[in-house]
């Protein structure tokens, strides 16, 4: 129904809306909705458990902070604590819905075709993503090199970042050269093998969702 760009827009709109409103009812409806989509689409149970596991502490933490330290009455603090706790759940499950089955390639290609993002950015970022595993190797090498000098490099030390950035600068030069030598032209007109059009039905669903949210906000008492 919705393509990647539309899903991204809807996810950001929803997260903005719930950041600025205080309805436990709306938050719980959104969580239930996102969760049921994840279940229908057969999201693996392991992944779902992982989402719940990462959610527990921030949800309880957000709740307790405002329940215990709010400046309002006990009832107000309870309500606000519940709002903040359930908000984290919405963020996690809307995020899970957004990334479900969406690869960075599809997202970037859609953004390029739908929102006219430049090809330099699209393919530059895509090319860079391939370096993710190489960073792991580089990181091990940097730490090993440090150990040989009797230095344990920790994450708060500038040297670690500096050495990673030296790799990044070198790789960016090499990759840019490689892409250019394979025929990548900055600013050239491109045709697309796969197209990612934004269907009208996607806009309808999006409008219906946003309208539904306003109705829930209007009706919900808590």
């Amino acid at each position: 129904m919705m393509n990647a760009t539309q899903r991204l827009v809807l996810a950001v709109l929803i997260s903005l809306e719930i950041s600025l409103t205080k309805s436990v009812t709306l938050n719980l409806i959104l969580v239930a909705g996102a969760l049921s989509i994840l279940l229908v689409r057969r999201q693996s149970l392991k992944r779902l458990c992982l989402y719940l596991a990462v959610a527990i502490i921030p949800v309880l933490g957000s709740f307790w902070s405002f329940y215990l330290y709010g400046s309002g009455t006990a009832a107000e603090n309870l309500h606000f604590g519940m709002v903040m706790g359930s908000r984290v759940l919405v963020f996690i499950f809307i995020g899970a819905w957004l990334t479900l089955g969406m690869t960075p390639y599809v997202l970037l290609a859609s953004l390029r075709q739908n929102l006219k993002m430049s090809a330099t950015f699209t393919y530059g970022i895509l090319g860079a993503l391939n370096f993710l595993p190489r960073f792991r190797q580089a990181f091990t090498a940097i730490q090993a090199a440090g150990m040989m000098r009797g230095e344990v490099l920790r994450w708060w030390q500038p040297t670690l970042y500096f050495k990673s950035l030296v790799h990044a600068i070198k790789w960016s030069k090499n990759l840019a050269m490689a892409m250019t030598s394979h025929g990548f032209q900055e600013g050239a007109n491109r045709s697309a093998y796969r197209t990612y059009p934004m269907p009208v039905s996607g806009w309808v669903v999006m409008a219906a969702m946003m309208a539904g949210i306003q109705v829930v906000l209007f009706l919900a008492r808590y």
Partner: protein, 185 residues
Amino acid sequence: MKKKWTLQDVILLALIGIIFSVVYWVMDPVYQIAYSALAVIGWQNFTTEITLGVWMMAGPLAAYILKRPGAGFLGEMLGAAGEMFLGGSYGVGTLLSGLIQGIASELGFTLVLYKNWFAGLWLSTLTGTVVTFAWDLVKSGYSHYQLGFLLALFVVRYLSIFFFAGVLVHLITKLLDRSKLLSHD
């Protein structure tokens, strides 16, 4: 100051985003451990303020390295998007935070009209604190806290951003400047 983004700049920007998306993602459990530890002495509300600086490193660093308008904002956004794709504990909320933090850091460099990058870096720690704090007043219900407590939160947040997104970023860029790897100047 150069304006046009070349392919190499974009790749470097994305690589900076990737480095920090991993750092941000690793910070999620660190945050939760710190939260639980601080809860023992009743200081858990300060967890966000103490750690926020780490989440704001990508922007100023990208701006200083690439020296282009928008680099700070885009670097922070890419870091946040990567954190979400890796499965961070705030889901799509990280995109929104990345957007606000990116604008917040970028503003420091905008105020010096993208001319003095050193001054821009220090100014970005201040704009970073003010803008993110204003956003938290609206979004995270900070307006529900008492005034004295709010002041304390603000000061701690500024110190965190000043240290991580200011001092640490400055030390990293100093090493890079000395290595003469940045051929922009």
